[in-house]
């Protein structure tokens, strides 16, 4: 057991944090009621410096990739990291990114309007397609650029096992969700430390403290389970980590909005950027309940 990053991981994550504190990661209120802020500049810096390939580096590995996805998801601005960091190096290293991932029925998919390729995980095969033109955006409540898969793409099969791909994707989504929840929590913590009502800070009320402490315990537990799933590649752990975070997500999102008051319902405050990612991610891969049932199958199935 080693919970501290190794030297390479520490250096890697340290540089990541510096970049993530830079101007490309700064957020601004969107125009036109926009609910998300795609940071192409941040995405490009990370891409050019090879960050999304870290899972393939022996001293960094999938666990560093998962940690990176979490940290990036804590930002109010968006980059596409989950598929790029946890699927691409292993299954399709040459695929142009950003990526969008399609699992299951036709629906609006996150990142499609900014993606250069799509990965489609079917029951029998994994296919990929490059997007010659950006996919048209779809209006959505969710805080991602959402789009539908264009009908006229050229798909090709890749030599990847769909089941393995889905397990890796569970870890990736779990990491993104853990980060989104942590980002929202951090922003609400800052608010309740500052904001005073009844002559005292909101964060001094025990009713507020206990719910936030409970949220922290759930998020951190989910985060560690996700890192373990990334490190071990255990499919039961992947389903368990994702299901746990998904089934925690909307209760936490509710509490975060409660404590932000009316300010949290504005587009001027970024809270919605995390909570409306979390709401969408709760539904990924058939949702939290299905993933927990799957974890049970995998833990106790008789071979």
């Amino acid at each position: 057991m080693e919970f501290t990053p190794n030297d390479d991981q520490r250096t890697f994550l340290g540089v990541l944090d510096q970049i993530a504190a830079g101007p490309e990661a700064a957020w601004a209120v969107g125009t036109d009621w926009q609910r998300f802020q795609w940071s192409g500049a941040l995405d490009a810096i990370l891409d050019e410096n090879g960050f999304f390939d870290c899972a393939a580096e022996p001293d960094l590995g999938p666990v560093a990739a998962a940690e990176m996805v979490m940290r990036l998801a804590e930002l109010p601005v968006l980059v596409e990291s989950a598929a790029s960091a946890l699927l691409r190096p292993r299954f399709a290293p040459d695929l142009p990114r950003p990526l969008a991932v399609v699992v299951g029925p036709a629906q609006a998919i996150r990142f499609l309007p900014v993606a250069r390729s799509v990965i489609r995980v079917g029951t029998d095969a994994v296919e990929v397609a490059e997007l010659p033109d950006p996919a048209a955006p779809v209006d959505s409540l969710f805080a991602y650029p959402m789009g539908r898969v264009p009908a006229d793409l050229t798909w090709r099969k890749i030599a990847a096992d769909p089941a393995e791909m889905l397990d890796a994707w569970r870890v990736a989504v779990a990491a993104e969700l853990a980060g989104a929840l942590q980002g929202g929590l951090t922003s609400v913590l800052a608010h309740v430390r500052d904001r005073r009502q009844f002559g005292r800070a909101l964060g001094s009320f025990q009713a507020v403290q206990h719910r936030l402490a409970g949220a922290a315990a759930r998020i951190e537990g989910g985060r560690l389970m996700t890192l373990r799933a990334a490190a071990t590649g255990d499919p039961a752990e992947a389903a368990r980590a994702l299901g746990w975070l998904q089934n925690s997500a909307t209760t936490i999102a509710y509490d975060l909005h409660q404590f932000m008051g009316a300010m949290g319902l504005t587009l001027e405050h970024p809270l919605h950027r995390w909570t409306y990612r979390a709401r969408l991610l709760r539904s990924e891969m058939s949702g939290g309940t299905a993933n927990l049932a799957l974890a049970a199958d995998r833990t106790w199935s008789t071979p």
Binding site: M1, E2, F3, T4, P5, N6, Q9, V63, A64, E67, L189, V192, R193, R200, A201, G203, S204, Q206, V208, Q209, H210, L212, A213, G214, A216, A217, R218, E220, G221, G222, L224, M225, L227, R228, A231, T232, E237, A239, R240, A241, G243, W244, N247, T289, A290, N291, L292, A293, L294, A295, A296, D297, T299, W300, T302
Partner: protein
Amino acid sequence: MDFDWTDEERRFRDRVRAFLDRELPGDWAEIARHGPGSPEQTEFSLQFCPRLAEAGLLVPHWPAAWGGQDRPTWEHYILGEEMWAAGEPRGAQYMNVNWIGPTLMQYGTDAQKARYIPPMAEGRAIWCQGFSEPGAGSDLASLKTRATRDGTDYVIEGQKIWTSYAGLAETCFLLARVPGSGEGKAGIAIFLVPMDTPGIEVRSIPSLIGHGDIHEVFFTGVRVPETARFGGEGEGWSIISYALANERIGIARYELSARVLGQMVAALKAEGRFDDGAVRARAGEASAACEAARMLAYRAVDRRAKGHDVGTFANIARVAVVEADRAVSDFGMEFLPEAYSGDGDAAFLAHHERAIVAGIAAGAAEIQLDLIARRHLDLPRGTA
């Protein structure tokens, strides 16, 4: 970051398991049925712990000077997981191993160490912890039991409650207030009190958590020599803070919960009920609660193993452990209610009785949440 066991750790766990397989008697489930604090289990521990000590598995993490082998923190923790999951055959003696012994090594006089540590290392010492009082539970610093100086003696007056193991303990690790030595926390001192000292009366409290587990202990004119004082007057609070830092990660309750959940699933499968999606989802949820607790506990152990303060990581683990115990117990009662009546299932009953304690004993869950909020999330105090 690496979340696997080393080969050495695996071998150590296998050794502990092999020992348990060999040494636990056929009727162990019956003995363990009424909980670690029951007279049956306490008596059992007096045969079991000496054998554990002989095998080098009672205090491996203690310094060699005190009968240990200076083994790493992780082995100590693995030992705790395996013992708890087996129903805690060490009974009350787990406290000696985890914190009373180490605290004595740190703060005891030579005479206290020589008198009390060897029997602990040999597995034949039963202690109880006299902290809580009728008026002082979560707010422990408000305790009222008094130890008044009288020449070179102290005379103890007062009452303790919820005291586990008091019925069979030889010695009490007692917190009392020394009049004139200070207010609040500053006025508290520790006494190591032989339970056969005249003036001590122990009454068992019937409860939902096994037989003879918790007690009231009355102290009426209990006279002890000055040499029974552990640490200085006014030092009691800082010593128990040290002692409980050793204990804070707490019992590896998720380990038993995870295993009992597996047994519950096996029972449901045997009845053909694991095909039900609702059952599987709830089983998965309970297993996730166990694994979240496990990972949060391991994070705290990792810090301790490196010699860092476990700090709030321990409080977070405690909250998660309460949730895990509850999730498994609720799962059993929802889907296997028959196991809790009639002949039932001893393992599920015993687990339930252990689980209902998790959020209260050793500091309520709400107190843990308070500490997480203030120290981990940096939220302001009550009136700030």
